[in-house]
Structures are given as structure tokens and as C-alpha cells.
């Protein structure tokens, strides 16, 4: 049930991206191009999504179990640190270069777009690079772990 619900959520998410125009990189860049002929559509995508999402998150706020009985694993961190801001800035540069963020990258891959697949492959390499650096950092802060591995 949990896995099926996960598939359904991903599927509906993908349909929403297609309807909204978020899966069209040219449209995303039209939104990010404030100095050119600006297409404000994506601000409304955000507004529509937040309007619907906010109710559900408010409903879940005090609950410890989901409607399927699974534990609620919503993050509680509130600290704004350098890692959050720098990481998001780097993400934004990549987003601005191609007009593609992670959700649309998967939708584009599903259309069989060669360009979408190249972006997705590079993004996965980026994910793996992050894990590699994180592992190195953990090993450096814990020498015992480094010796054992």
C-alpha cells in the first residue's frame, strides 16, 4: 500500500508538472528571465500548489501516523545554515542554465528526450558526488571508521 501510494503521488505530481508547463524548460526560462519578455505563469503554479498543499500539511501537523498508519516523517529542522543557502544557490545556477529541476528532469526522461536523459544522468552523477564527499567528510571526522573501511 505504502509503495503504491508513493507511485500514485509521483504519477499525479508528474501530470501536474505537464499541465502546469513546468516540464517545458523553455517556459521555465521564460519565468526566470525577468529582464526579457517575462512569463509570470510559474508564479501561479507555485500559488496553486501551495494553496492545495498547505491544507494537507496543516492537517498532518499534529498527527504521528498517516491515514495508512505509517509514521509521519516530516522534517522539523528550522536552522538556516551556510550549507542550505550555498547548496540552493548552486542549484539555482543549474536551474537557470537549463530550465530543468529534478521533478521535470524525470518527466523529460519519461518522454524519451535525449537532452532530458543527459541532464538526468548528470544530475545523478551530482547526487553520487555529494554522497562521495559526505562519506569522505564522515571518515575524516571519525578516524576509527576510516581505518575499518
Amino acid at each position: 500500500m505504502y509503495t503504491a501510494a508513493s507511485f500514485a503521488a509521483g504519477f499525479v505530481f508528474g501530470l501536474g508538472l505537464l499541465v502546469a508547463g513546468m516540464a517545458n524548460p523553455v517556459k521555465v526560462l521564460g519565468f526566470l528571465d525577468l529582464a526579457g519578455a517575462w512569463d509570470p505563469s510559474l508564479a501561479l503554479v507555485m500559488a496553486g500548489a501551495v494553496a492545495v498543499g498547505a491544507g494537507a500539511f496543516a492537517f498532518m501537523k499534529k498527527r504521528t501516523r498517516t491515514l495508512l498508519g505509517a509514521p509521519v516523517l516530516l522534517p522539523g529542522a528550522r536552522r538556516i545554515d551556510k550549507r542550505l543557502v550555498l547548496g540552493s544557490l548552486v542549484f539555482g545556477v543549474g536551474w537557470g542554465l537549463a530550465g530543468i529541476c529534478p521533478g521535470p528532469a524525470l518527466v523529460l526522461a519519461g518522454t524519451g528526450s535525449a537532452k532530458g536523459l543527459v541532464f538526468l544522468a548528470a544530475m545523478i552523477v551530482g547526487n553520487l558526488a555529494f554522497e562521495f564527499f559526505e562519506k569522505k567528510k564522515r571518515a575524516a571526522s571519525d578516524p576509527a571508521q576510516m581505518q575499518s573501511s
Partner: protein, 144 residues
């Protein structure tokens, strides 16, 4: 700034946004998680027992959406202008940046803002600012 009224699609943007919000709501209410695509996909780079199948299912759902759509109707316009070099660089930056930043447009932008999370609002402001700045540099400083 001039508004591109011919490209502006308020109805499909709002409806599509509401569908995205519904997906995030479904995922929160049933699975108790944030529908953050970068975290869901990125978590597969560090596989842990019992933590893999729901991630693959969500990713498969996203990939299946255009396939199912394509069976029933013509897909909406999708155009990628960036060349392969730019796409590879952009993919790398998105892959690394979203992991350090702990989220992307979905996790921070949709879910986090819906929850009024200060971290997510800060992240969203940061990646939007960087996106605006990058397009400005590429289109109006380099491209002009």
C-alpha cells in the same frame, strides 16, 4: 521588464499547480513524507534496507506520467534550448546543489513553503535569486 502576455498561461498554471499540490498532499497524508524529488531520488545514491522501494515507486510514477499521457493524447509542448554541454553542467550543479541545500523546487518550493518552514523559504529565495541571476547573465550579458 515587459510581460509576455502571449506566453502567459494562467489557467493551466493554476490547475497544474493545484494538481502538484494535490500530489504533495496525497504523499503527506498517506506516506507522511515530503514530496521532494531531489531528496527522494538522491536517497537512492545511499541505499538503505527498507528505504528503497517507495523511492523507486515515486520516481517511476514521475517517469510514467508522460508515458500514460502520451498514450491518450499528444504531450504538451516541451522544448529544450540548452546544448548538451550546458545540460551536463546544469545537471551536475542541480544534482550537487539540491543535495547540499536539502531540497529543490518541490521539497522546499512547494512543500516547505506550504508548511511555512523558514529553512525552505530561505532555500526557495536563494535558488530563485540564483536562477534569475543566471538567466540574466546567460541571456542579457553573454548572449547580447
Amino acid at each position: 521588464m515587459s510581460i509576455a502576455w502571449n506566453a502567459f498561461t494562467p489557467a493551466s498554471a493554476l490547475i497544474g499547480g493545484a494538481i502538484i499540490g494535490a500530489a504533495a498532499a496525497l504523499f503527506a497524508v498517506l506516506n507522511g513524507r515530503i514530496a521532494g524529488v531531489s531528496g527522494i531520488l538522491g536517497g537512492l545514491a545511499r541505499p538503505q534496507a527498507g528505504d528503497v522501494s517507495w523511492r523507486i515507486a515515486f520516481v517511476a510514477g514521475l517517469i510514467a506520467a508522460p508515458l500514460a499521457w502520451g498514450l491518450l493524447a499528444a504531450l504538451p509542448e516541451i522544448r529544450v534550448d540548452a546544448n548538451y554541454f550546458a545540460l551536463a553542467a546544469a545537471g551536475l550543479l542541480v544534482g550537487v546543489g539540491t543535495r547540499y541545500g536539502g531540497g529543490c523546487t518541490s521539497g522546499h518550493g512547494v512543500c516547505g513553503v506550504s508548511r511555512l518552514s523558514p529553512r525552505s523559504i530561505a532555500a526557495t529565495l536563494a535558488f530563485m535569486a540564483a536562477g534569475f541571476a543566471t538567466v540574466y547573465v546567460v541571456r542579457h550579458l553573454i548572449g547580447s
